[in-house]
């Protein structure tokens, strides 16, 4: 009996592990994000013109007719394939930088607040509550009205309004971790607070954080598109997905390709990132502690 179980067990666990690791979410997510990411990284090299070549004679060329404009052209005669790929630069930059900025800021604040508690903790968390109550688009429109439009401002704005989610998540992990034996032990050895926080607590709070991060990148790509759609993002000449959607909507009855291709690209990107996020959650946080 004992021998049999020992013979069977590793096989089952290997298959389960294999199966789990290469789940559909992972494959689809990696493929989608990977292809789009690679194209975007190569964009500057592929299209040095920056997608700004206006050709009024070739405006609104339908897609799939020529190799010159495989996805057709927009109302100014610019190549849609080129602009979709270049548009990813802004979307990915905004998505990744804003999420990265927010995660760093939020994590540090969350760690300190959760570890030291006290008055600062209360103040910061009440401030976080207030910030969570402000709708982002409304805040963005107001701030942009004051400081003027621009991609850099949008990134800062997203960091300022999103660190809160990370801070709350990290703080709640820290609150339970700081009472655990290994932290108590570290403290009794006389380790410095800094070493305890970053060496012992942070690694254990990392799982949920990474999941939230992936989901947020996707969310921020959508937000950037919304703001550009409203005409509050980048310079209209800069190719962006939201800007292309916005420009194409007046032509949707006569030239569907102007809106459909950037729209589909946004969808695929967000889908890819969300699938990756779901997979990561299953891997790192099987009990579902991450609030979405």
């Amino acid at each position: 009996m004992t021998d049999q179980t020992q013979n069977v067990k590793p096989r089952v666990s290997f298959r389960r592990k294999y199966h789990r690791f290469f789940k559909f979410e992972f494959i689809a997510g990696i493929v989608l994000t990977g292809i789009l990411g690679a194209l975007v990284l190569a964009a500057t090299w592929l299209f040095p013109e920056g997608g700004r070549t206006v050709d009024l004679m070739a405006r609104l060329t339908p897609p799939f007719l020529s190799w010159e404009h495989p996805l057709g052209t927009d109302p100014l005669g610019r190549d849609i394939l080129e602009r979709v790929i270049l548009g990813g630069r802004i979307s990915f930059t905004v998505g990744i930088l804003s999420a990265a900025g927010a995660v760093v800021l939020g994590t540090v604040i969350g760690l300190l607040a959760g570890y030291y508690r006290g008055l600062w903790d209360t103040l910061i968390m009440r401030f976080a509550d207030i910030q969570l109550a402000l709708p982002f688009i409304l805040l963005a429109i107001t701030v942009i009205a004051i400081v003027g439009p621009g991609t850099d401002r949008i990134i800062v704005l997203m960091i300022v309004s999103q660190w809160v989610q990370y801070a709350r998540l990290v703080r709640s992990s820290v609150l339970s971790l700081r009472e655990r034996e290994f932290v108590q032990a570290a403290r009794s050895y006389g380790l410095r607070d800094r070493k305890i926080i970053f060496g012992h607590i942070l690694p254990n709070a990392l799982g949920p954080l990474i999941i939230l991060l992936t989901l947020n990148v996707a969310n921020n790509i959508l937000l950037e598109s919304s703001l550009t759609f409203l005409g509050l993002g980048a310079d209209p000449q800069t190719p962006t997905w939201g800007g292309m959607l916005s420009e194409g909507r007046n032509y949707i009855q006569t030239a569907w390709w102007v809106t459909v291709f950037p729209g589909v690209t946004i969808m695929l990107t967000v889908l890819g990132l969300n699938l990756l996020g779901d997979w990561l959650r299953d891997e790192l946080d099987p009990l579902g502690r991450t609030s979405r």
């Binding site: 209209p236 420009e247 007046n250």
Partner: protein, 516 residues
């Protein structure tokens, strides 16, 4: 039907005999199946926000209010001035006194009679405290006071000549309002539910949603063809188009030029165009940056192929212009030519002015103008061809007009569109070029001020025309701004609509329109 009846019954005590008679018939009609109401549904992009004539300068107001209000003078769809509530007028005492003879038998929607007191009240209100709070008063300050001669005669005493006054009496702020009604309900209630002498009366105004009008049976000048007009405010151009194509609205105003193809391809909807007063120009920051130099401003103008923009981007539905006015405007000079499209010449001028290649300049605009957002990028491409890098900054509309433009915070160039509804260059030129005007943050030129003051102070048409042409020529010579084009006013009209006459000034009159 119900809401219409309720509103009639609600106003019963104040109604005229004619309406009381009409109401006497109602019990016969109302309980059974009333005959089908004919309703005209109209979409326009903006909400007037306030229906009081003295509180507005919005085209959105003009598009609805000519159905509710009337002035002493009426300007018809051919832009000719006709007697309105005044039957005739004469200039007396060296042109310092203008006498109006008023039409008899006219009543307001609430039954109040139209007479000399109403005229006096209207203008005293406009020139007094209530008017000072709104934007219309400034157009009428040449009027010193109003004298009632008798019930049907009224005199305007002028403190200075005003050559455009008769036109302006057909305009926004000069609509005649009912004294008793305003005293009774107060200014704020009047903003939302006004009463005039026009062919339709207000049933309900819901800000940002719509305005419902019903036929006024006591109207003096014939009878409206439809029972109700339902005006919907739909800011999103694509939504307006969908509503038009699906038959949800009968007429759509504010058609964006880039929708023209869609309408032309649709079977059930026609495109109606008329030469309008609206001009689109780029203005220069003449006090800062490289655009201080007139040679640079000229070069920028010459670098942009305006005829091609009109053909390719505006479907040919616009005309090139050499000044901020269309061909229908008083003060337009046939002989004044726009700068030619000449990129070589532009490059030479820029080199002469010492502008380094790839110099960056900025264009500011508002974010609600889809058509221009595209055109701005074409302009950027043309400028790039002569060695200028254009950054385009778009702002939320109210921020743009109230802050960026009004406080002179623009870049080297900024967008300005204006519909000079008087079709007299005075209206546009004064606000573009006279020192201290709200829409003129940069230009302070003694020569222009003198010309503008001259044309405003005389009734002599020849002197005025010459002065206005001189203003246009001077602005052109110094390239103070970059006149792009004069757009046609576009309407989308469903084929079931009969009797549609396009208004060049967007001041729609729905009285003679019927719906099959």
């Amino acid at each position: 039907m119900t809401s219409f009846l309720t509103s009639l019954l609600g106003q019963l005590p104040r109604r005229s005999v004619a309406l009381a008679a009409a109401l006497a018939v109602l019990p016969v009609v109302a309980p059974g199946q009333a005959e089908a109401q004919s309703v005209l549904t109209v979409a326009q992009s903006r909400d007037p926000q306030n229906l009081d004539p003295i509180d507005t300068f919005r085209v959105a107001w003009g598009s609805v209010a000519s159905n509710i209000f009337e002035g002493l003078i009426l300007r018809n769809e051919d832009l000719e001035l006709e007697p309105g509530l005044a039957t005739s007028w004469e200039f007396l005492d060296d042109d310092t006194r203008i006498r109006f003879h008023l039409r008899e038998g006219v009543v307001f929607h609430n039954g109040e009679p139209f007479n000399a007191e109403a005229v006096q009240y209207t203008f005293e209100r406009l020139l007094g405290e209530a008017g000072a709070a709104g934007p219309q008063r400034a157009n009428y300050t040449s009027i010193d006071s109003i004298e009632v001669v008798d019930e049907q005669t009224v005199d305007f005493l002028m403190n200075q000549p005003d050559p455009v006054l008769i036109t302006k009496l057909a305009g926004y702020g000069a609509m005649i309002v009912p004294p008793q009604y305003i005293e009774e309900v107060g200014e704020e209630a009047f903003d939302m539910h006004p009463v005039g002498t026009g062919p339709f009366q207000v049933v309900e105004y819901t800000p940002t949603v719509g305005l419902q009008l019903a036929r006024f049976d006591g109207y003096w000048n014939g009878e409206a063809q439809v029972d109700e007009v339902n005006i919907r405010f739909i800011p999103e151009a694509a939504t307006r188009m969908s509503e038009l194509l699906s038959g949800g609205v009968d007429i759509s105003l504010d058609i964006e030029t880039n929708s023209v193809e869609t309408i032309r391809n649709a079977g059930n909807v026609g495109l109606v165009t008329v030469d309008g007063p609206s001009v689109t120009i780029l203005r220069f920051h003449i006090n800062e940056g490289i655009t201080q130099d007139p040679r640079v401003r000229r070069a920028i103008t010459m670098a942009i192929d305006r005829p091609t923009i009109i053909e390719a981007m505006l479907g040919g539905l616009a005309s090139p212009i050499a000044s901020a006015q269309g061909a229908g405007s008083f003060g337009y000079d046939m002989a004044l030519e726009p700068y030619p499209f000449d990129p070589e010449g532009a490059r030479a001028l820029l080199a002469e002015a010492g502008v380094a290649p790839r110099t960056e300049i900025t264009l500011d605009m508002n974010n609600s103008n889809d058509t221009f957002r595209e055109i701005s990028q074409v302009i950027a491409a043309y400028l790039q061809a002569v060695g200028l890098e254009l950054n385009i900054r778009s702002h939320e509309t109210s921020v743009y007009f109230n802050d960026i433009l009004a406080n002179g915070r623009t870049g080297e160039m900024y967008l300005f569109g204006w519909g000079g509804w008087t079709f007299d260059f005075d209206n546009t030129a004064y606000l573009l070029y006279h020192t201290g005007e709200r829409n003129n943050p940069y230009i302070d030129d003694a020569h222009l001020n003198a010309l503008l003051d001259l044309e405003r102070s005389t009734y002599d048409r020849d002197v005025r025309e010459q002065a206005l042409q001189d203003v246009a020529a001077y602005a052109n010579e110094n390239a103070l701004d970059l006149p792009l084009y004069n757009t046609a006013t576009l309407y989308g009209v469903n084929e079931r609509v009969q009797g549609f006459v396009p208004a060049p000034d967007s001041r729609m009159r729905y009285m003679n329109i019927s719906v099959e």
